[in-house]
Amino acid sequence: MLVSRKWLEQYVDLDGISTEDLAEDITKAGLEVEEVRGPVLNDENIVVGYVQECVQHPNADKLNLCQVDVGDGERAQIVCGAPNVSEGQYVVVAKPGARLPGGLKIKKAKLRGEVSEGMICSLQELGFEDKYVPEDFKDGIYVIDEEVAVGEPACPLLNLDDAVIEIELTANRSDCLSMIGVAYDVAAVYEKDLKLPEPTVYIENELSSDYISVEIENDKANPYYGAWIIKDLDIKASPLWLQNRLISAGIRPINNVVDITNYVLMEYGQPLHAFDYDRFKSQKVVTRMANEGETIITLDGEERTLSPEHLVITNGQSAHAIAGVMGGEESEVQDDTTTVLLEAAYFNPSVVRQGSKDHGLRSEASSRFEKGVDITRVKEAATRAAQLLSEIAGGKVLGEMVEKGSTEWNPKIVEFTASEINQRIGTEIAIDEMKNIIERLRLDYEVNGESFTVKAPARRRDISIKEDMVEEIARLYGYDRIPYTLPEGVMKKGGLTPRQKLVREVNQYLQKAGLNESLTYSLTKEDWANQFVSPEIKALGLEPVALALPMTDLHSHLRLSAIPELLSSVQHNVARNQYNVALYELGSIYLQKEKDQQPEENMRVAGVITGLWEDHPWQGEKKPVDFFVIKGILEGLFVHLHDEEVAFEKAELDRLHPGRTAVMKLNDDIIGYVGQVHPTVQKEYDLQDTYVFDLNLDQVLEAVQYREDYRVITKYPAIAQDLAFVVDRDLPAKQLEDAIKEQGQPHLETVRVFDVYQGEHMEEGKKSIAFNLIFQNDERTLKDEEIEEARQKIVKHLENEYQAVLRG
C-alpha cells in the first residue's frame, strides 16, 4: 500500500511530525513501512510559465525561441527543442538556479548565439516515471491544461513535493488497504482528530430505477448490489489534483470516470465498477453464478471460460463482468461514453478469490474484495464517486441508487477485563489508559468496573476474539514498553535425547575423520531419485515420491539416496579445480510404503570422497582415496558406537564398481553399502576415482551399545606371533581372520593383517597373507608351550580347511 503524506493530511493533521518519524511510529504500531520515497523535488525556481511568443531559433532548425512570462512581470527568453511547444501554453519552467532530479543545474546560457534563461521541462525531466506520463507529453514538454497562476511554484502543483510511504501490510490488516483505513490508525497512534469525507450529491429528478433494475440470484455470493445511473458525462483527462493522487498511489490516470472509481477505491478501499450503460444493452442487472463453459472477453482483451464457481454480472443474458475481478470489454467506458451504470457491491471474499485465482487475475479490486471490504461503507463510497462524477465529469446523477440485498453488519462482541489483558501482556496498564487506547481506535465499547465490552466494526473484521484486543491494546500501548521477563513456571528438564546426542556423536566423528558436513536437496531429478539406492531400501520395491506440480524437473521427486546430489556437489567442486573432496550428509530419505500415505522417513548418512586422501607433496606423501580409506572411516564409526559386529561383504550393485563394493550387515540385515562409483558413471560426472557410502543411520543407532564397564590394564606381558600363509587368491581375508580368532582361543587377543602379497614369485591364483597375533592373559604370564600349542592348532586348521600353506 502506497500512502501519500499529502493525501493522508486530508484526514489527519500531521503538523510537526516528520515523514521519517511517521514511518517509524506506524511501523511500531504494526503498519510496517518498507520504504519512504520522495519528496522528488521541491524547488522554488521551478514555476509555472506562460509562453507569450514562440518563434523558430534563427540559427537552428529544430530549436524554438520562446518568450515566457514567469510571473511578477518577469519575462524570460528560453530556447526550447520540444516539438510540441507553442504560443499560449502554460508550461513548467526551471529558472536559472533550479536543480532537477537528475542533478542537472539550470544556468543562464547561450544556445547557438541566443540567450536562454532557463528550461521548459518535460515530465520525465521533473522526475516522473515513464508510465505516468500521458501519451501526448511523452516526446515533449508538459503543457498544463488548467487555469494556473503564472509564477506559481510548479512542484506542489505536480505533487513533486509529496512523500510516499510504502507499507507492507500483513494479511489481517486489510482495513489499511484504503487511505481512510490508514488514517484511522495514524489518528489512533497520535491521538488526533479524524476528518473523514462526508460525501453529498445533487440528485436529478429522473430516477435510476427507470433505467435499471437489479436481481441477485445467489445472495451468499453477492449479499449486496447497488446500481446507479449517471448521465451526460464528459469523458476527458482528470484534473491535476486527481491525477496526482492516483500517481502517488501507484495508479496510472486514464480518464476522469475510470480515475474517479480508482480514487474511491484507494480512499475507501471499496472497488466500484463503471459500465457504459448504452453498451450494457439492458435495463436489468442480474448477478449469478456463471454457467459451465460460459465465456467473457475481459477488459484486457482475453477470452475467459467460466464455471459455476465464478460469480458474474450479467445484463440478464451475457456476462459483463467477473464479479470483483475484472469488467468485460463489451461495456467498457470509452471516450464516447455519456451514461454509466455505477456498480457498488459487496461480493463474498472466497467467491472473488476463486475467480481471481482461476483466471490468474489479481487486481487492486479483487485483492480488496478477497479480504472483505467494509460493507457498511459501500453506499457511502458510491455517493463519493457520484459526487465526483458530478463535480469533475459533469455527470447528472439520477435519483436513488437501485439496491438489492443488505449492507447490515453484525458486529463481533469481544469481552475482557483489564486484569486479563495485563496478565497476558505482562503489564500493569491502568483502566483509564485502556479506555483511552480503545477510544483512540474509535471502537464502540462499554466499561463496567474493569470489564470491557467492545463492538468490533465492519472495517476491523480482524478483531473477533479476546486475543485480538490484547494485540490492539499492546500495540498502541507500545511493544517497547512491555517489560522483559522469563516464564515463572516450574523448572523443566530439557536437553537432547540419547538419540539426538548420538546423532551429534556421528557428526563429530565423521568430521574428525576428515569429512565435510554438507546439505543437498531432498527433491531431485526423477532418474536420480532412484539411483544409488541401498539394497535394503531397493528390496522394498518403492517408487520415489513425486510432487504434484514441481517448479522444475531438477527437483521433482524425493530422493531414495543422497548420493546422486552429493556426486553433483563433487562435480561442482572438481569443475572448479577443487580435486580433493570429502563430503557427507546426514538426512532423510522418503519411503512411501502405501499409495498416497505419508511416507516413512529413514535417517541416513551418506558420504563421498574423491581425489587425494593424503596430500603432503614435499615429503612425498600423496595417497589417492581407495576402498580401504572409506571402509576405515566406517569401521571407525562402528567402533565408536560399539557396533562392532557390522560385517562387510562383497556385493555387486548398480552404478558401483563390481570388484570394489561391499554391503554392510548388522545381524545379517543389510544396513548400507560402500564402494567405488562405477568407472562409466564416474565418466558421466567427469570424476576420477570416487568412493561413496550410504548407511542406514536409524538401524545403526538402534544397535548402539554404551560402554558400561572398564577392563583393568594388565601387568602381564603380551606375546606376539606372526603367521604368513599362501592361500587361494579369492579367499576373503576375513574368513581366515575369523578362523584364526576362533582357533586361537582362549588367549588370542587380537589378529591383524599386516601384509598381503600377490604377483611375482607367487604361484598363479595364489596370494600370501600375513597376520600378526597378540596373545594375552590378564592374570598371568603365558607360557611358551601355550602359545606354541595355539599356533599349531591354527596352522593345522587353516591347512585343512583352506588349503593354506604356512610360509617359512
Binding site: 496478565q423 497476558r424 500495540r475 523443566k492 528438564k493 498416497d596
Partner: protein, 355 residues
C-alpha cells in the same frame, strides 16, 4: 738416597717417555673411534708397548723396579686419559655433525591434518539448540512430508484460508505436502502432551516452498522454531526470552525491537528486529536506513491452535517463535547468496570449520 741406577733403568725410562710421546701424538691425530681403539690396543693392550717395556724390568734391581713401574703406570694413566678426552671430543664432534645433518627448514609447511567440519547452517542450528536446551527446552523433530492437517489446519489455517496464499506449497496429493514450516512439529508435540503442560520445545528442520532458486530464494531451506506452553505465559516472557536469544546469537550490545505482525497461528503476533551491527542504529544500506534488521517472527499461541491440540486455552497460554538459520548465517557472516548453503563448494564449507 743416592742410588746409582743401572743403565737399563735409563733406557726403560727413555722408552716409556718415547711411548708416551708417540701415543699422545697418535691420539692427537686420530679422526675416529676405531683409530683410538687401535691406539689403545697398541700401547695399553696385553701385548702392547707398555707391557713390552715392563717385560724388560727383569734385569732391574729390587729398588729400581718400582721406579719404572710407577712411571709406566703414570704414563698408562696419561695415555688413558688422553684417549678418554679424545673419545669425548670425537663423540661431541660426531653428535654435532649429526645435529647439523638433521637440521630442517622450519619454515617449510607442516603435514596438513585431514579434518573435516560442520556445515554453517547446522552450526547455527546447534548453537541455538544448545542455548535453548540450557534453558530447559527439548529438541523436537517431525516428518518433512506432512499432512495438510498438521501443516495448515492444526495451525489455524483451514482450507481456503486466504493466508494460505502466503505460502506456496509443494503438494504431493491433496492431503500430503512438503512441509512449508517446522510448525507442524509444534502441533504434533502439543498433541502428544494430551493437554498437560508445560511444553518447552524447539524444532529445527528442513522446510520447502514452491520458489525458484536464486540469490535470496531457495525451494529448500531450514527453520528453527520454539514453543513454550504453560499456565500464565505472558507476552513479556516472549520478549524476555527473545532478548536472551538475540544477545546470545548476535552480541550483548545488540538491542531488540518487537513490532506487531500477523501469523495465523499466533495472536498477538510480532516480528523481532535487532539493532543493525553495521551502523549501530543510525541507518545504513544493510538495514535499509531503518537501523533495524528483521530476524524472526513470533507471537502468543492462538487459542484455536491450543484447543485443536487438546489444550484448554483458558488454562494454558503459550508463546512461539520461528526463524531461518539461513538468514541468521547470512547476517552474521555476510553470505550474499542462499544457494551457497546447498552447493557444498569446499571453499565455502571450509571457512566455517573453525571457531
Amino acid at each position: 738416597m743416592d742410588y746409582i741406577y743401572h743403565e737399563e733403568v735409563y733406557k726403560l725410562k727413555e722408552r716409556l717417555n718415547e711411548i708416551k710421546e708417540e701415543a699422545l701424538e697418535q691420539i692427537q691425530s686420530a679422526v675416529d673411534e676405531k683409530t683410538l681403539q687401535d691406539v689403545r690396543v697398541y700401547f695399553l693392550g696385553k701385548k702392547g708397548q707398555i707391557t713390552e717395556v715392563l717385560k724388560g724390568m727383569g734385569k732391574l734391581s729390587k729398588e729400581e723396579r718400582p721406579v719404572i713401574g710407577q712411571l709406566a703406570n703414570q704414563i698408562r694413566d696419561e695415555i688413558s686419559e688422553a684417549l678418554e678426552t679424545k673419545k669425548t671430543k670425537l663423540e661431541q664432534a660426531a653428535l654435532e655433525q649429526q645435529l647439523e645433518e638433521e637440521a630442517v627448514d622450519v619454515t617449510l609447511p607442516g603435514r596438513p591434518v585431514q579434518a573435516g567440519g560442520p556445515h554453517l547452517l547446522r552450526k547455527v542450528i546447534r548453537e541455538i539448540e544448545d542455548l535453548f536446551t540450557s534453558m530447559g527446552y527439548s529438541v523436537a523433530e517431525g516428518p518433512e512430508v506432512e499432512t495438510d492437517f498438521y501443516n495448515f489446519e492444526s495451525l489455524n489455517l483451514p482450507k481456503n484460508h486466504p493466508a494460505r496464499d502466503m505460502q506456496d506449497t509443494f503438494f504431493i496429493t491433496k492431503e500430503l505436502l512438503m512441509r512449508t514450516q517446522t510448525s507442524p512439529v509444534q502441533a504434533r508435540t502439543l498433541r502428544k502432551h494430551e493437554g498437560q503442560g508445560p511444553v518447552k520445545i524447539i524444532c529445527p528442520g528442513k522446510v520447502y516452498r514452491r520458489d525458484t532458486d536464486d540469490a535470496t530464494h531457495s525451494h529448500q531451506f531450514t527453520q528453527i522454531e520454539g514453543l513454550y506452553v504453560d499456565e500464565n505465559i505472558r507476552m513479556s516472557d516472549l520478549k524476555g526470552t527473545l532478548n536472551v536469544f538475540a544477545k546470545h546469537m548476535f552480541g550483548e550490545d545488540r538491542a531488540i525491537r518487537l513490532r506487531p505482525s500477523f501469523f495465523p497461528f499466533t495472536e498477538p503476533s510480532v516480528e523481532m528486529d535487532i539493532s543493525c551491527k553495521i551502523c549501530q542504529g543510525e541507518g545504513c544500506s544493510v538495514c535499509k536506513g531503518s537501523g533495524w534488521i528483521e530476524i524472526l517472527g513470533a507471537g502468543m499461541v492462538h487459542p484455536n491452535v491450543l484447543e485443536m491440540a487438546g489444550f484448554d486455552s483458558n488454562q494454558y497460554k503459550g508463546f512461539a517463535f520461528g526463524m531461518g538459520p539461513e538468514r541468521i548465517a547470512m547476517l552474521k557472516y555476510g553470505v550474499e547468496d542462499i544457494r551457497h548453503f546447498y552447493t557444498n563448494d569446499i571453499r565455502f564449507l571450509k571457512q566455517f570449520h573453525g571457531v
